[in-house]
């Protein structure tokens, strides 16, 4: 019951979608299952939120290190959730003024939009932006041009970086853009690398990934790989 039923559900759910792709009559079934998947994914967000609450409440209760920050997590979580779910300050849709809950929960000017625009976006964008410094610092420490492979990687990265900057393009401005060596201008070199070598490499990688996913999917659907069920 604890292991057999999940294995059966995995196999039936997966193979139903595969079969639905090949039989036009069952296309609707495939679409329905895909919607069910979306529903479960949305419910998984609730599970994630519940788990977040559970972990941070425990940390506060135990007075663990940094428990004050857990209070900030819970506070910001609950405030955002309340505003988002209860549509605080959301006006009804213009065409349905009698339906108070009909408005867009993230419409411009609503409190939830304010949170998105002035907290979520700047915080996450700055988090990602900071990676520029860490990537550059890690690259400086780790990359050494000590063999041909490393030189190719570094050289390509250098050309691509130069090709996306004004100064980089200005370096090769002296080459005649209509002459026989126009291809050596940094901007043209960048385009050539991206459209030929990068495409070729990515093509092979994607073929490899696709084959890998097919192999893993079949192992899961046929019950060979049961790691997702845990140990018990």
């Amino acid at each position: 019951m604890k292991r057999s039923v999940p294995l059966l559900i995995t196999a039936v759910g997966g193979f139903a979608l595969i079969v639905a792709y090949f039989i036009p009559y069952t296309e609707a079934l495939g679409e329905t299952v895909a919607v069910w998947f979306d529903i479960l994914a949305a419910i998984a967000f609730i599970l994630g939120g519940g788990n977040l609450l559970k972990q941070h409440l425990k940390k506060i209760s135990d007075r663990g290190p940094g428990w004050g920050y857990s209070g900030v997590v819970i506070g910001s979580f609950l405030i955002t959730l309340f505003i988002g779910l209860s549509k605080v300050g959301v006006p009804p849709l213009a065409e349905f003024p009698d339906f108070a809950w009909s408005g867009d929960f993230i419409g411009i000017g609503t409190p939830f939009w304010f949170i998105y625009q002035y907290a979520f976006v700047p915080l996450t964008a700055t988090m990602f932006a900071m990676l520029a410094f860490y990537i550059a610092s890690a690259a400086f420490r780790a990359f050494r041009a000590k063999n041909l492979e490393a030189i190719l990687l570094l050289g390509t990265a250098f050309i691509i970086l130069l090709g996306r900057t004004f100064a980089g393009v200005a370096l090769t401005n002296w080459i005649d853009p209509t002459g026989p060596f126009a291809g050596l201008r940094i901007e043209n070199l960048t385009v050539y690398i991206m459209s030929v070598f990068n495409t070729v490499g990515n093509r092979a990688i994607m073929i490899g990934i696709a084959l890998g996913i097919v192999a893993v999917s079949l192992k899961v659907l046929l019950g060979v790989d049961r790691s997702y069920l845990g140990k018990e």
Partner: protein
């Protein structure tokens, strides 16, 4: 107080004083948001406030000093200042771990989790689950525009609801195994969907794109450049695949092909690295532009504050 802390505290105080002085005592201004009232709806009875600029406000004031179409927005200005302070708090991590960064980090976690929960609820659970099980109730509550076949009841959707409840059972102290059923459904459907999608969209499409003429003939005759490019593409893909192929030892011809494949892959990784770095640097530039343009009004690259 340590010397380091003292220096940074002084810098912060001086910075805050400069900001305060610039905001209050100079005519340059900074960190203000303006909005424009736009009528919406069929009869134009509802007003929506859309983002405007200080330049548009000055122009409107010059035309009519009593106009109220474009006006200063206190809530959005407060939002702008909060966004700027959050940006600085996150950037402060470049100096080292500090309470400002930790608070901002905690807010990221809390806000992100709640944001995606709310989005999932209003965009998936309400229209795709509740509206299928109880369309009448949802129509009278949050989706008055629900009509036609979309408004038909479909009790099959009780199944994902039950699976959803079983998934949430994971939070309960006992019976965590119950959540394996919906998890199995998610794993199974993901495997089925991904297998077909990758076979069709990646595997077959990439092979199809790799089968190109090695001798390219145009109306002018033999095209050396295009032929060379296609040759590199075909041979390059084969060499990279040879490197990925581990059923033969990489010796002789296979070894040479695999070595060439490594070189091409290194160029690919270099290009990916370059692009990733440039993408992040672009994000840094956007954040700095936000601070210097939107917040401090020190630069005005697109003339938003020119009347």
């Amino acid at each position: 107080m340590k010397r380091d802390t003292l220096v940074w505290t002084l810098l912060m105080v001086v910075g805050a004083a400069a900001l305060f002085g610039r905001a209050v005592f100079t005519t340059d201004g900074m960190g203000r948001e303006y909005v424009e009232a736009v009528p919406v709806g069929a009869d134009g009875q509802q007003i929506q406030f859309q983002a405007s600029t200080y330049g548009a406000f000055l122009a409107a004031q010059a035309a009519d000093p009593n106009q109220t179409d474009i006006q200063f927005s206190l809530p959005r200005s407060i939002g702008l200042w909060i966004a700027a302070l959050f940006t600085l708090a996150i950037l402060s991590f470049l100096y080292g771990d500090n309470p400002f960064y930790r608070i901002a980090e905690a807010i990221v976690v809390g806000v992100s989790a709640a944001y995606w929960m709310a989005v999932g609820f209003w965009t998936v659970i309400v229209p795709n689950l509740l509206a299928k099980i109880a369309p009448g109730m949802i129509q009278g509550w949050a989706m008055p525009g629900l009509t036609g076949p979309e408004a038909d009841q479909n009790l099959w959707y009780v199944v994902p609801m039950i699976l959803g409840v079983m998934l949430l059972w994971r939070l309960a102290p006992t019976g965590a195994w119950i959540s394996r059923w919906p998890l199995a459904f998610i794993i199974g459907t993901t495997a089925g969907l991904r297998m077909i999608a990758f076979l069709h969209g990646d595997f077959l499409a990439q092979i199809r794109n790799s089968i190109v003429p090695l001798v390219v003939l145009t109306q002018e005759g033999f095209d050396l450049s295009a032929s060379l490019t296609n040759l590199i593409a075909v041979v390059g893909v084969l060499c990279c695949l040879a490197y990925f192929f581990f059923s033969f030892e990489h010796k002789g011809m296979v070894g040479h092909a695999a070595q060439a494949g490594i070189w091409i892959l290194m160029i690919t990784f270099g290009a990916a690295f370059g692009y990733t770095v440039m993408g992040r640097i672009a994000l840094v530039a956007i954040r700095l532009e936000f601070l210097l343009d939107d917040w401090l009004w020190l630069i005005d690259p697109i003339g938003r504050r020119v009347a």
